[in-house]
Amino acid sequence: IGHPEIFPLVFTTKTQEIFNCRVDEDVTEENCFKLIKKEDIIQDLKTRAAISDFHPVRKVILEYPGEELLLVFDAKFQYGQNFYLVASEEAKENLLKPPETAEEKEEKEEENTEETLEIHPYKPPVHKPWVSLGSEKEVEEESVKENVTKIKYMLSRVRRKFGASITFTDKNASHVKDNYVECTSYQDKSFSIKMLEKDVGVQMVPKVREASTQTKWIYQKNTATQYFPRQSSNEEKEESLSSEKLKDFLTSVSLRVEIALQQNEIMNAFFDDWKALAEDESSSGGKPDVCLKAYQAFTDLCYLKDRTISCVCWHPTIYGIITVSARERLSYEKQVNLSGTSLLQQSVILFWSFFDPIHPQLMLECPEDIYCFQFSPSDPNIIAGGCINGQVVLWDISQHEEKLQNAKTVADGIQMTAVNMPSVTQVQQISTEPPLVRYCAISSIEYSHKKPVTDIHWLPDYSEEKQVGATFENRAEICVQLVTCSPDGSVLFWDTPASKLPEQPSSEKVRGKENFCMPPAVPDTFKHPDICWKPLIKINLCESNTNTEYGPIRICLRELHYHYKTSEKMRSLNTLEVLGRESPYGEMGTPSSKNLKVLENITTDFFVGTEDGEILYSDWKMEIDSDSVKPHAQKYTTHTETINTLQRSPFFKDIILSVGGRSFAIWKEGVTNGPILQSSCSAGRNTVGHWSLTRPGVFFIGRDDGNIDIWDLLKKTHEPSHFQNISESVITFISPWIASSKQHFLAVSDDLGVLHVLEICQTLSHPSRNEHANVLDYFEREAKYLKYCEQEYQEFQAKTELKWNGR
């Protein structure tokens, strides 16, 4: 309340009575002061202690310095109670004698209600001027006053820029100077301590990797079962055979089976007519203009000048190598006499390669003109040739084999000269000279033919003839024997002299003991201690009745299929027993062993074409016990001129083509009446013929006007299906060859020394579907027809005889 001297009190009625300050009796509103003696209060306090109304202000009373306390009746409850006590004298005085200030009203009030012991008048606090005690300074210091005038800024911006879309652009901080501050690192010297040792901890941990996949796990393992078929014993078989059930079964079943069999016989239900039609169309379709395409032509100016090619042979294994033998072009008279004339020019056999048409690859030196030659089927490096003077010559070109195989790489014409060049040919050492190979064996003159060797063949490698006359199995499987024939009436079998077997060591020195000196460094494949190379067996062909000798030009043996460098053991072959009249046995060191199997069942028949145009069909069988040896020969005089070709068909073993003079004929072995096909006399002369190697019904005939006639037996049998002019002069030799399945060649040589290589077109080289069967059919038909004709003739003859006899 702000008056520290005023203490409000509550007076009960009892207290009021005691102190005579009963409300409204002693003390009223106007007279509110009552002075009470201090001693009275104290007495009251002592008597009533706690219940005294003065109890709360006891302390104040005890400390009161005066004698009488003022008690004021507070009618208006100014201080909260109905009485209040004034504690100080001054206040008492003030109250009792109220000041003349404006607080008179208040005082009056207080005076009225005052009823304390203190008579002290209430003095309201006097408004004094404030005395500064220094606090205002502190306050000033503490207070914050704005001593800086506030600067007012007004920022404005165009309204439309507010809320506009923001576009950001990039700016490279490094472009603008001072746009960024770099704190580059630098090497602080104080920290360069070189670490000399470093502790590193290493722990070995097994590398573990987990992976998983899902597979269809099939555990594969091999199982095997051994079994044998059940078979019923013989008794059971017998029993079942005779059982009734079987009979019934067969009777019921046989009908069905026979129907089915007959169905098949009647016609083939699965035959595709459409397909067959297409094939026939393609084969018998329009004639192509050129059936033989010119592929290459080979000629040589120095060696083949004025010479004619007598024989052409393809190299059996190396692609693209073809060999020609040349001989002097003799006039007709000289040819007839066929005497060995002296040579002005060296005769050679030339090797041509497809890849170099100008320079021959290899040359074989020949002692005389070579009439015919052949590659050995078992070793294509051995070549046997027959000379014009009757000798047989052998060459070995194994040293040059590699060169021939690499003939492609030497196509530019620069060829290496062979290391072993004999001295004879050193004059001709030009850089483009093909190497010359000398013959390594030559037969002795006295035992050879007296006339030119016109045909030479290697005997098949599965048979070998021995002196005893029986043919033995040739275990070595190399061709070692030759057969030659000549118009002097003899057929000679030769054995290659001590031919080198593959197992023997290669280099052996040539012995000096030889009558004719072999030039050094000639391959000694056929080294032999004996000088002369004699034939093994000699067969003289002469007619039994008249004792005239035949002059065989061509010989054709049975089973002359060659296996080039393949080994096939032929079993169950027949013996070839030899009919020999005079058989000068040469001492040949045949490399065959003693215990060879004597071969049975070799057919001993052979065909011989003579210079008079006769064809002899004979066989040689040496019947040791018979005295008179008769050649059972059959003679056919179909041709009028010299037979120049006698060849077996490569498809049918018993069909033979013979070409001579103005006609040709096809013979079937076993049909003795005559040829199954004979051509009519043609205008020109047929000079040579050859079967096609791929088509059974096709063969080629060469003529003297340079044409090649292609005969296709399935198309026409009365004239050639096609002819083509190859050269201007007489065709001397034809040799077809299958180089690959796509390339079929025909080598044609002519009288001018030119070798033409032609490519056989598709239609001529690929057989049609049933060509083999058709041609076989044709031949059989012809044979039957011939037989029929013969029968008819015989019947006719019998009839005429009867007629004559009847007369």
Partner: protein
């Protein structure tokens, strides 16, 4: 004798390569071919005939196999089944 005659007649047909008679178990009773071929044919064809017969009867239980012909490139194999025996004929339909 009748049996022989019938079999001979069948064998004499054009193109017939061989004839085999096998019993219900597949054991050959009578054959014109060599043993190994016979056994092979018998085993294989017996199983095939059983299979064929089962097939036919599965489709129609009242049906039954009367004849089986297998045509290959080279031959035709004809099988005539019965309750207890099987006759196999191999023919070459020639053309």
């Amino acid at each position: 004798a009748e049996v022989e005659e019938t079999l001979k007649r069948i064998q004499a047909h054009k193109g017939v390569v061989g004839t085999i008679v096998i019993n219900a178990e597949g054991i050959p009773i009578r054959t014109t071919l060599d043993n190994s071929t016979t056994v092979q044919y018998a085993g294989l064809l017996h199983q095939l005939t059983m299979k064929a017969r089962n097939t036919v009867r599965d489709i129609d239980p009242q049906n039954d196999l009367t004849f089986l012909r297998i045509r290959s490139k080279k031959h035709e194999i004809m099988v005539a089944p019965d309750k207890e025996y099987l006759l196999i004929v191999i023919q070459n339909p020639c053309e």
